[in-house]
């Protein structure tokens, strides 16, 4: 076990500008002792994967409320894997219909957090699921 802090990239893909959730999560993860990098708005999946690699993160938290999750999330996972980030967890938060959850998980999304989720649950999920590194 190392004492390395969990590093998380909070990302806003697509054209949507509603960033209340992304910023609340970023602050909650920071308060829980994690290192958080926020991408800013309107990032393409390519930009998000490049930032994840450059920042050497353990997890990418994707905030999406626009309904474009089925297009954007699988592409983010795929690009991360192509760049060799096999252990990087991809979490999704936002407005995602129940029917879409199984498919997103099949496509490699570790967890989807729906509206009403407590930030403590997200912190705990990361602490339990991020693989310790040397």
């Amino acid at each position: 076990m190392s004492n390395r802090k969990i590093r998380v990239l909070v990302a806003k893909p697509g054209l949507d500008g509603h960033d209340r959730g992304a910023k609340v999560i970023a602050r909650a993860l920071r308060d829980a002792g994690m290192e958080v990098i926020y991408t800013g708005l309107r990032q393409t999946p390519e930009m998000i994967a490049a930032a994840a690699l450059q920042e050497d993160v353990d997890a990418v938290g994707v905030s999406i409320l626009s309904g474009a999750h089925n297009t954007l999330c699988p592409r983010i996972v795929q690009l991360l894997r192509e760049k060799g980030m096999d252990n990087v967890l991809v979490l999704v938060g936002g407005i995602v219909p129940q029917e879409d959850l199984p498919r997103l998980k099949e496509q490699g999304v570790a967890e989807v957090f729906l509206p009403g989720t407590s930030t403590e649950d997200i912190v705990k999920f990361l602490q339990d699921n991020v693989k310790p590194r040397d």
Partner: protein
């Protein structure tokens, strides 16, 4: 301030009751985390003067409303925000809502349209028709309003960064229908300041974006005099996490900023300010919301008089639209949202709103289905026709609590004005990140209060169910919408005169470079079927794009 009488009451009546049963909580807070007192009495309103501060409806400072007869003369406009998928689908929804008794239209555009991209831009992938209707050129707009007479129906358009382009499309469609520009009415949201503050759907840097807004003011004042070219919006500020006071203060200060820019551009206050409208949220905390609307009218009237020297009643009267709080809707036990919306809408009505949108119960899940949209409209009709709250003007006026709260919110908003004025105005305050930080901080504090259980959300942090009954059907918009839109876009590009488009776009760039009013050139470009993306790109070339200050 305790009076002799209140001290007696506390000692003789209150204390024994508290000894027997203590209150449920140490502190009672509004949804804005503001402390609410146990009791309000005449002592709380003794500094208020009826004539000066409250007055009669239809008279300065309009605390009790802008109409002397309230809703006895005319009910509010029931204006449901709608838009999804293709222009054909949204056109059908509009016609359906009007058949059901809706009295005005309100268009929701999809994200590519809001951001000034065409449906075939790579950045639009996955987003076409999802959050609203997809409009890339005049050809889409013609379908959207097919069979809807624009001289008779007022249409509100929620569009901001590319607002001048959508206004131009609207005007050209109206013209093609044979409607006269001086007869048509409606509202363009066109509030770019709150985009930088809250909703973040911007394109250009702030100053050129403000110039585009002022162009629409000048153009409408001259050519479309019954049209409201801006709806200064607190709605999105609140949704982003602001408290009620922050919503009130930042919205009205944005309004003052537009007036100042208009005056600086040589417009006459009493010609353009009467056509400015406002847009507020209706959140859960019933009295806080009603006080907010009443305070808003009073502040606006006083500030227009004090800052701009106006004495013209239509400049002083603040008119506003209200929408119930999307952010308050829960995914959990979604039918509960019907009740939330009804109570929020009632606050809007008791606050004297001019028009109202009630959210559909399924909006925390997706865009509303027909059935959900219908219940939302019926909610307004029940308030209007069954509850009796429309029978008298400002029925809650004179309540010790409400009047004290109205006064307190006014004072707190004025304190924000002083800070923002000291920063050099709202544009500078936004460039410094001030309102953005205030809102983020409130959003975080609220989330923490929910997680501590101090703010209760039924079905989320109290009265939760592991096995929720009956899933609700939701509206699904698939990628066939994009295919359909791409076909029309391709047809449009093939059929139009390419030389005329290039020429019109050049003229628009020239107008932008020379700081001329861009509206005439925008209208010409739209008439030539230049697309939204092409027009916004031309302006991006001249103005550049906005970069957000770091988080």
């Amino acid at each position: 301030m305790p009076t002799k009488e209140s001290s007696r009451w506390e000692e003789e009546t209150l204390q024994p009751a508290l000894n027997k049963r203590p209150e449920r909580k140490k502190s009672f807070q509004s949804v804005s985390l503001e402390e609410v007192e146990r009791l309000y009495t005449p002592a709380d309103v003794e500094d208020l003067d009826y004539e000066r501060d409250i007055s009669f409806p239809g008279e300065f400072p309009y605390t009790r409303g802008i109409h002397p007869t309230g809703y006895r003369g005319k009910l509010w406009t029931m204006r449901q925000f709608a838009g999804f998928s293709t222009p054909e689908e949204t056109n059908a929804r509009f016609k359906y809502l009007m058949q059901q008794g809706q009295t005005g239209l309100s268009v929701a555009y999809d994200l590519p349209t809001l951001m000034g991209y065409d449906a075939d831009s790579p950045l639009s992938e996955g987003e076409v028709g999802k959050c609203g209707v997809a409009v890339s050129s005049l050809a889409d707009m013609e379908v959207l309003f097919d069979g809807i007479p624009l001289e008779q129906v007022t249409v509100s358009q929620t569009i901001n960064a590319p607002a001048s382009v959508l206004l131009a499309m609207y005007l050209v469609v109206a013209e093609k229908q044979g409607a006269r520009w001086d007869k048509i009415s409606g509202t363009l949201q066109n509030d770019i300041l709150k985009e930088y503050i809250a909703q973040k759907e911007w394109i250009y840097p702030i100053k050129p974006a403000m110039k585009l807004v002022i162009d629409t003011f000048a153009f409408c004042t001259e050519h479309v005099p019954r049209y409201n070219p801006v709806s200064v919006s607190g709605y999105h500020i609140r949704e982003a996490g602001a408290t009620a006071v922050q919503e009130l203060a930042f919205t009205l200060r944005d309004g003052i900023e537009y007036v100042q820019w208009g005056v600086d551009a040589g417009l006459d206050v009493d010609q353009f300010v009467p056509r400015m409208s406002f847009f507020f949220n209706a959140h859960n905390d019933f009295f806080e919301e009603i006080a907010k609307y009443r305070a808003a009218r009073r502040i606006w009237a006083r500030e227009m008089k004090r800052r701009f020297g106006s004495n013209y009643e239509r400049t002083l009267q603040m008119r506003f639209h209200t929408q119930t709080a999307g952010v308050s809707l829960t995914v959990q036990q979604p039918l509960n949202n019907i009740v939330r919306v009804a109570i929020q809408a009632l606050a809007g009505v008791l606050g004297g709103t001019q028009s109202l949108h009630t959210d559909a119960y399924d909006e925390a899940l997706a865009l509303p289905t027909d059935r959900a949209a219908l219940i939302a409209l019926r909610t307004q009709q029940i308030i209007a026709e069954e509850t009796g709250v429309v029978n008298t003007v400002d029925p809650l006026g004179g309540s010790y609590f409400l009047e004290a709260l109205t006064e307190k919110m006014e004072q707190e908003a004025l304190e924000y004005f002083r800070k923002i004025d000291a920063m050099g105005g709202m544009v500078s305050a936004i460039e410094k990140g001030f309102p953005q930080r205030e809102i983020q901080d409130s959003a975080y504090q609220y989330q923490k209060a929910v997680e501590r259980g101090e703010q209760v959300i039924v079905g989320v942090n109290k009265y939760t169910m592991t096995d929720e009954p009956s899933e609700v059907p939701i509206l699904v918009i698939d990628e066939s919408v994009r295919t359909h839109q791409l076909e029309r876009l391709e047809q449009t590009r093939t059929r139009r005169d390419a030389g005329a488009v290039a020429n019109a776009l050049d003229k628009l760039k020239t107008a932008a470079h020379k700081h001329e009013n861009t509206m005439p050139a925008t209208i010409d470009a739209v008439r030539a079927y230049a697309t939204l993306g092409e027009i916004c790109s031309a302006l991006r070339d001249v103005y550049g794009i906005y970069e957000e200050p770091a988080f």
